[in-house]
């Protein structure tokens, strides 16, 4: 996640790069030593997936000023494309049991399929972007939301069942666990099932960061601040928006493929508007306009919802005292209230618009950003 610059790297950038490297090393060590069922790996895997999707949403909402709510739709496309092209041929008959094994009778390597996911999502984004990107803020939000719903309906249509398996589940495709390196007896030698998703997501986020810091990224930010002045400076609004939309959807599609691997099954009906809302809330908590913030809050969000706040869902007895209110679903209530407090009172989120290297800069520049 380091910023590549023509000049020498500044100290804060080097520190940031070191932190990220240390994080990866730590994950690698932890994976070899701790039990693979440990909750921390679930959090890291799902967090990596959500981080990628959140950052690509941030690219639109935070850096380009396009308020898109179509994330769930593009994730769905990504997840389906990945699943369709990677289910092993021997398993197809079992998965597509109602459609005679389906019509796709070949498989692609995992990484090729992931890139395909992104490309197909980007292609759909291009098509939908043609009409939709002409709209203004909230109309655009609802149109993209509607698009996600249409995609969800189409993928469940019985007639294209041989391709998508209708409203049935897609399963038995390679998952994160298949990244583990096994010996001939099927025993795992090196655990990589957490590191690889983190790496994939890291590489994608690094690409997005490079993009944000390029001329193109600066043009996007200019558009966000003021479309009319940006246009006057010679930025072609329509093509820049279209390209940003496609790029964001590409990475959302890859994120969808990762979600498929994380979940081990894919079903169109689970990609609801609520999923988009969750990702939006992650972006908001992290700070709209901060890539670091989106990453941090993804892990925080997933850790809270899957792990740290789990105790709120069960009865807790301290001594003789049974804590009231705790039962199934209470976690989500607490969670929503925290989110509302962030939305209402800490609109900057965790990071505001700052990035990781900014944390190590002198106060002076931090104050300048805050002003």
């Amino acid at each position: 996640m380091s910023n590549v610059d023509k000049k020498k790297f500044s100290t804060p950038q080097i520190i940031s790069a070191a932190i990220i490297l240390a994080f990866y090393v730590l994950v690698f060590i932890a994976e070899q030593t701790l039990a693979p069922t440990s909750m921390i790996f679930t959090v890291l895997k799902k967090g990596a997936t959500y981080a990628l999707v959140a950052v690509s949403m941030n690219l639109l909402n935070g850096f380009t000023g396009i308020f898109s709510l179509g994330q769930a739709g593009f994730m769905l496309i990504g997840a389906y494309v990945y699943a369709i092209f990677t289910i092993p041929l021997t398993q197809r008959a079992a998965v597509y049991q109602y459609y005679n094994g389906g019509i796709v009778q070949f498989t692609l390597p995992v990484f090729v399929a992931m890139i395909m996911s992104g490309l197909v999502a980007a292609f759909f984004a291009y098509l939908i972007g043609l009409p939709v990107l002409r709209l203004k803020s909230d109309y655009l939000a609802v149109a993209t939301l509607g698009f996600a719903e249409i995609i969800r309906a189409i993928f469940q249509w019985d007639k294209i069942g041989p391709l998508t398996n209708g409203s049935n589940m897609l399963r038995l495709f390679p998952t994160f666990n298949d990244f583990n390196i096994k010996n001939s007896n099927g025993e795992v030698v090196i655990y990589l099932s957490t590191l690889v998703p983190l790496l994939i997501s890291g590489v994608c986020i690094a690409l997005i960061l490079l993009l944000i810091n390029s001329t193109f990224g600066r043009a996007l930010r200019a558009m966000k601040d003021d479309e009319i002045s940006a246009e006057a400076m010679g930025i072609h609004l329509a093509s820049h928006k279209q390209l940003a939309f496609c790029i964001s959807s590409f990475f959302t599609g890859v994120g969808g493929a990762m979600l498929a691997m994380y979940q081990t099954t894919v079903q169109a009906k689970s990609f609801t508007t609520a999923m988009t809302y969750e990702i939006l809330l992650i972006v908001v908590i992290g700070g709209i306009g901060s890539v670091t913030g989106s990453c941090l809050s993804s892990f925080l969000f997933v850790a809270c919802s899957e792990w740290w706040l789990r105790f709120l869902d069960q009865k807790q007895v301290i001594g003789e005292f049974e804590v009231p209110l705790l039962r199934n679903g209470f976690r989500l209530v607490v969670f929503s209230i925290i989110i509302m407090i962030v939305v209402l009172f800490f609109r900057q989120g965790i990071m505001g618009t700052r990035e990781l290297p900014d944390l190590f800069r002198k106060k002076r520049s931090a104050a300048k950003k805050g002003a």
Binding site: Y139, F147, D158, A274, L281, N328, G329, V343
Partner: protein, 307 residues
């Protein structure tokens, strides 16, 4: 042919009326605050849940119904005060995010209270009875809905056009700042708007859930979105527009639900196509089309952006 279509048409009119009651809330709030109140569909759902719990506690129906309506209106009022008022000067995106946050909170709260199980909606006597009209057998509520909707809309239009509050609302939606300078208490007007919107959503929920019989935390999302589409279709900010949009969407959606059977019986297709899957998608396709072709909707006012 007509005999096959008629039942679908009838339930379309009924659903359309229910959407209309929700759509008005969206339209009024958007007219004044320029905010898509994403939580409106969930207010509608909470009204359903309130009805389930209050009637289960043994309160007689004639107290229960007004009580639910009052509580729903209060909920709308509280949401506005807590979640939207503090953000009045914030960028529009923040308020929209806050609305999404409220929607998320309400859904989770209901999930917690109900335990995520389908709740059976109490039967309201008379309107739940069956009735046969021509080729269709349906509940009385189907017939009552459009009539009641039109009456309420008439009342609302009268309120907006002929009372002082209504005049204030029109002024605020024309120009927020100027009306403030003219001595209109903006916060009061906004609160009233939310109360009216939620009240209508409460009535809508009674009609809707009498038809569909179960309530769950997500059951407000779809009707909410569709009602929003109706409001946009009719021209957001315009009440008659919202109502007409809602009826069109309700009817089209239900006819698409039955399209397979209609086409089969009329001999146009040989076997079912599974087109019913598209009844939801149709609404959103319509939204995208209308936004591209005529972004102001059927009856919307033309807005001019100044540089």
């Amino acid at each position: 042919m007509w005999n096959t279509i008629f039942p679908y048409f009838l339930s379309g009119v009924s659903v359309g009326g229910q959407y209309a009651l929700i759509a008005i809330g969206y339209s009024m709030v958007y007219g004044i605050l320029r905010l898509i109140n994403f939580a409106h569909g969930d207010v509608f759902m909470v009204a359903g849940i309130l009805m389930v719990y209050i009637s289960a506690s043994g309160v007689p129906l004639w107290i229960c119904i007004p009580l639910v309506l009052v509580l729903t209106s209060l909920l709308g009022f509280i949401i506005e005060r807590l979640a939207y008022k503090p953000l009045r000067t914030a960028p529009r995106m923040s308020i929209m995010i806050s609305a999404i946050g409220v929607s998320y909170t309400l859904q989770n709260l209901v999930l917690y209270v109900t335990g995520g199980l389908n709740q059976f909606y109490p039967t309201i006597p008379w309107v739940s009875d069956s009735i046969t009209i021509g080729s269709a057998t349906t509940k009385i509520v189907t017939v009552v809905t459009p009539v009641l909707t039109l009456l309420l809309v008439y009342g609302l239009v009268m309120l907006i056009n002929h009372t002082k509050v209504g005049m204030a609302m029109r002024a605020v939606s024309k120009d927020f700042e100027t009306s403030q300078l003219m001595g209109i208490n903006i916060n009061r007007v906004i609160s009233i708007t939310f109360v009216i919107g939620s009240f209508l959503a409460g009535i809508g929920s009674m009609l809707y859930f009498t038809n569909y019989t179960t309530v769950i935390q997500t059951s407000g999302a779809m009707p909410g979105l569709k009602a929003f589409v109706a409001a946009v279709f009719g021209g957001i900010g315009s009440i008659p527009g919202a109502v007409i949009g809602a009826f069109i969407i309700g009817i089209c959606e239900n006819i698409i639900k039955g399209l397979d059977i209609i086409l089969l019986k009329s001999g146009l297709i040989a076997k079912p196509m599974g087109l019913a899957t598209f009844s939801d998608a149709f609404t959103f396709a319509l939204l995208i089309i209308i936004l591209v072709v005529k972004p102001t909707g059927l009856f919307g006012e033309k807005t001019i952006d100044k540089v």
